[in-house]
């Protein structure tokens, strides 16, 4: 599990140069980008859509989108991996919602199309220690809290949809969501200053 992450982390130093080469339309840079992040992107999309054939289409769309929008990415300050994963999640959730005949409810998902918003985000987000801490934190959540987070993150459900899905009052789901995110935030180590 951790091998691709460790690899991605080790290679993370070269992201800025890789971005510059992508911006110069160097096709070899695209191959490198895929080799660096392809497995993570595929794993995330497969988890969301649960179909390897559809996941392949969406991985392709993800990389095409990044290729077409990388020009507005800040090579030095931008966080390539987090942006790529956000675009991947966006594509997969979009697919899930359209396939299920559900309306998009989260306009903020569209922001992933604007890599400027990923400026100054921690680049070493794939650091295995931090990842382990978040996984530990996920394990520490109650089953209900974890379900809420998973339905929101991997299924793209709104709180109302989650409440219906779980057969619970909306207020309860909101409480679980807030408590779960607070735990994750604390474990994540970046406590937001007041």
């Amino acid at each position: 599990m951790l091998l691709p992450l460790l690899l991605a982390m080790e290679l993370g130093e070269g992201d800025a140069e890789l971005v510059r080469r992508l911006q110069r339309r160097d096709p070899r840079a695209m191959a490198e980008l895929y080799d660096r992040y392809g497995r993570l992107v595929y794993a995330l999309i497969v988890r969301i859509v649960r179909d390897s054939g559809i996941a392949e289409d969406l991985v392709q769309e993800t990389f095409l989108r990044v290729w077409n929008r990388v020009r507005s990415f800040e090579a030095e300050k931008g966080a390539l991996g987090p942006w790529l994963l956000a675009v991947a999640r966006n594509r997969a959730i979009d697919y899930l919602r359209s396939a299920g005949g559900r309306m998009r409810h989260a306009l903020e998902l569209d922001e992933t199309d604007h890599p400027a918003l990923f400026t100054d985000v921690e680049k070493e987000i794939l650091n295995s220690d931090r990842l382990r801490r978040v996984k530990d934190a996920l394990d520490k959540l109650s089953a209900s809290q974890r379900t809420v987070i998973e339905l929101a993150y991997f299924e793209g459900m709104s709180q109302t949809e989650i409440a219906e899905h779980m057969g619970q009052p909306l207020g309860t789901v909101k409480t679980w969501a807030r408590a779960a995110l607070k735990s994750l935030r604390d474990e994540f180590g970046a406590v937001v200053p007041a």
């Binding site: 390897s52 903020e108 199309d113």
Partner: protein, 245 residues
């Protein structure tokens, strides 16, 4: 709403769970580059990335890499004159553009899918044309491998000094997940030269072409090994095919 009233809502927002009025308030704060909300939102996005990276591992099929690269190669060339300031302007304008973007994105996705399909077909046709060109050369050297062997695979290799090397094989089982077949042109003296990755079809047949001039007289053999899907500079496993010249 002030920033403190929003403090518990950044992760909800990044996750797509925030509701009105908090959602609109966060958008407004971000839209005016609020010095408190922008960094908080970055932390929330980091957390979302970690959730994504924590998805159970899955190995993409080897063909996906080729497909992604083919789709990118098929993209029309673009000019690169955007000034960095455009980035800031675009970020500020994003909220107004979201509605139209959603529509455009669906069209983009369809276009990308059609382009990828067309690129794959064009590649397949080009490969078959190359194979036919080699087969049509009267002076192409032909080598049979695997004949009479108790175990598959069997087939032929054609080498043409100007056109390249064509490998036709049967009884070659599909490579396991994460692996690909790699062809090698082995000089009479010196190390094997990588000659491209390929996959066999589900019926065990395979066709692989190495295009370009090849020094047939200096070649001792053509071989195939099973390697990691990304390919390796030198063989790391025992050959499954050896066609000695």
């Amino acid at each position: 709403m002030n920033c403190d009233e929003l403090r518990d809502h950044y992760e909800l927002y990044a996750l797509g769970l925030a509701e009105e009025p908090e959602s609109g308030e966060i958008r407004a704060h971000l839209g005016r580059d609020c010095l408190t909300c922008v960094p908080r939102m970055r932390r929330a996005r980091e957390l979302m990335s970690l959730l994504g990276a924590a998805a159970p591992p899955a190995q993409p099929p080897a063909r996906l890499r080729q497909r992604v690269l083919a789709a990118v190669a098929d993209q029309p060339a673009r000019r690169w004159s955007w000034a960095p300031v455009w980035v800031a302007v675009a970020a500020a304008a994003v909220i107004a553009a979201l509605f139209f973007n959603a529509r455009e994105r669906r069209a983009d996705a369809e276009l990308a899918r059609v382009q990828a399909e067309s690129a794959t077909r064009a590649q397949e046709l080009a490969r078959l044309n190359e194979a036919l060109a080699i087969l049509n050369q009267p002076d192409a050297r032909q080598v049979v491998f695997g004949a009479g062997a108790p175990q598959p695979p069997r087939g032929r290799v054609f080498l043409d000094p100007r056109r390249g090397v064509l490998l036709l094989a049967s009884n070659l089982p599909p490579a396991p997940e994460g692996k690909a077949y790699e062809m090698w042109v082995i000089p009479k003296s010196g190390n094997p030269l990588p000659a491209g990755l390929f996959q066999s079809a589900t019926d065990g047949t395979a066709l692989h072409v190495l295009s370009g001039p090849v020094d047939v007289t200096a070649t001792g053999a053509v071989a195939v090994t099973l390697e990691p899907a990304g390919g390796v500079p030198q063989p790391t496993s025992k050959p499954v095919i050896v066609a000695a010249l």
